[in-house]
Assembly symmetry: C2
Homo-oligomer: 311 residues x 2
């Protein structure tokens, strides 16, 4: 494998966000699922970003991606404004209200993968219309590991297409509210089982500051979140989590359960940095050393007692 | 240490609850913080229950405690009705509404510890007026490890007394809403630090189905919750958690951090059984083998990847 070959393709939104949290407000913040996923994945591998920006997209953001080592050959710049989202977080940051969504370039986005991306072994399909996710998958040549994210809107309006894309995926990620919405189950263990039945090998339910619950056919796994000192902006944390996970798997070239657990930890740590500042800016100035140190601390914090000690 | 010496004293409420959850409703259910804490602790040690029941307290409940091996020599039966609580849980079981509280015997309760209890090394002070908690502590002869629980009402109305009791405790337990209320901090890491400053050696913030965050002066620890298949009634889970933890420490006769982590796991597992049925009934028919099996499973589910594997 050559260093510059893209092993992980990330398809998703690119946007400009207006964000209000209890810690402050910012406008025109670089955002979108592909942005956060790539920013986290770039610590492990050279991700290839597939997405659409508008003609108003500020040039400094291209520099942001390039400095992180994101490959931009799959990027489209359309003759439309960039996708815009405005949202506001409640005091405890677990609830957010969307104030405005303007699809713009995202509404016209028809992903077309550069030829070298089509042979990539790892693919992350960020939250997009399931029909578009299917179109991307159709362009890939037998990817080894496909992760799919979704949102409540598609579960409500395109349930069968969502189930079909889950059936083609190795990993399904979604948040707890979406898992409950899809399954009609309050208990997440049952929700996990319902989603596994659609065919993926792994399911991860993201619970924000409460971590994640995951399952494979062999059983259930628990992942706490790294406890951050001060949450400034939770936007994109779920995508940074998925991006860190997929980046770590792509780097290892493994998809077995121990590797998956390791990837989940790296994703959780990437997400914990992500929320420390507005937008992806904290990920932009993060060093590999900081990431590695927090990962080691995270593992110590969550380490169960050893069974042998108590016999 | 003789088998029948009480190593752990549990002081708290004894009540009769009317409970409505999405899974159903039950009336006159045995409840109270001392009940749940003793029911969990009894798997590890012979707890001594200190509390007050009323003259209407059904005899079969004494049998429930005795069958579990709870020592009842500190129990008072007052010429008043038993404490009653009625509550209702929302669909996701994380929110509950108190419909009715009748203090009755609990309002007149003045704990008086039997002489042998006063030398016990472990003490759990369940949620009671802080003035009463102080009275109990005053009766003890240099206990080795004191845990104190509280509630929002005392934080609001008797903040200084709460802080004073925390200063006399080795372990403070409270839930996330209470920790935020006390500290004025949204981020729980900061709340933990604020509470540690009052003097306890350990602080545990209970987050219900999301597990717990804990801290000592050496740092922060993460504990997920065991994911239960079907939550029927969350009442008492926090007390079962604290009771399991204290019982495990009393059994080990240790209070160091590895023992504490082990105790937290046992508490989490006891709490996970507790919520599987109304009231403490699931704990009443739990076997030590079931508890041990789930604890091993829980440790496997939460085990971080080993650092050495990824070098």
């Amino acid at each position: 494998m050559r260093e510059d070959t893209v092993q992980l393709v990330v398809v998703g939104s690119i946007g400009l966000d207006d964000i209000a949290t209890p810690a402050g407000r910012r406008t025109n913040v670089l955002g979108g699922s592909a942005t956060y996923a790539c920013a986290a994945a770039a610590f492990f591998t050279r991700p290839g970003l597939v997405g659409a920006a508008g003609c108003d997209f500020p040039r400094r953001h291209w520099t942001f991606y390039r400095r992180l080592g994101v490959d931009l050959s799959g990027l489209q710049v359309l003759e439309l404004p960039t996708f815009r989202w405005a949202g506001e977080y409640a005091e405890d940051m677990n609830q957010r209200k969307t104030l405005r969504t303007e699809l713009n370039a995202l509404g016209a986005f028809r992903p077309s993968l550069p030829a070298p991306y089509r042979k990539a072994p790892f693919l992350f399909l960020g939250n997009l219309q399931p029909a578009i996710q299917h179109e991307v998958l159709d362009q890939m040549h037998a990817p080894r590991f496909v992760a799919v994210d979704t949102m409540d809107l598609w579960i409500r309006t395109a349930r069968h297409e969502v189930e079909a894309i889950w059936g083609r995926a190795d990993l399904v990620t979604l948040n707890d509210a979406e898992a409950r919405l899809y399954s009609g189950e309050t208990d997440l263990v049952r929700a996990l089982r319902r989603i596994l039945r659609c065919g993926p090998r792994y399911v991860v339910i993201k619970k924000g500051e409460h971590g994640a619950l995951w399952a494979s056919r062999r059983g259930i796994g628990l992942l706490p979140a790294f406890p951050v000192e001060r949450t400034v902006d939770p936007t994109g944390a779920g995508d940074a989590f998925a991006g860190g996970l997929m980046g770590a798997l792509a780097k290892l070239g493994r998809t077995d359960e121990p590797a998956f657990r390791y990837g989940l930890e790296q994703g959780a740590v990437a997400a914990s940095f992500c929320v420390e500042a507005f937008g992806p800016s904290r990920l932009g100035r993060l060093t590999p050393g900081e990431l590695a140190r927090r990962w080691r601390l995270f593992c110590r914090m969550g380490k169960p007692s050893s069974e042998r000690s108590w016999r």
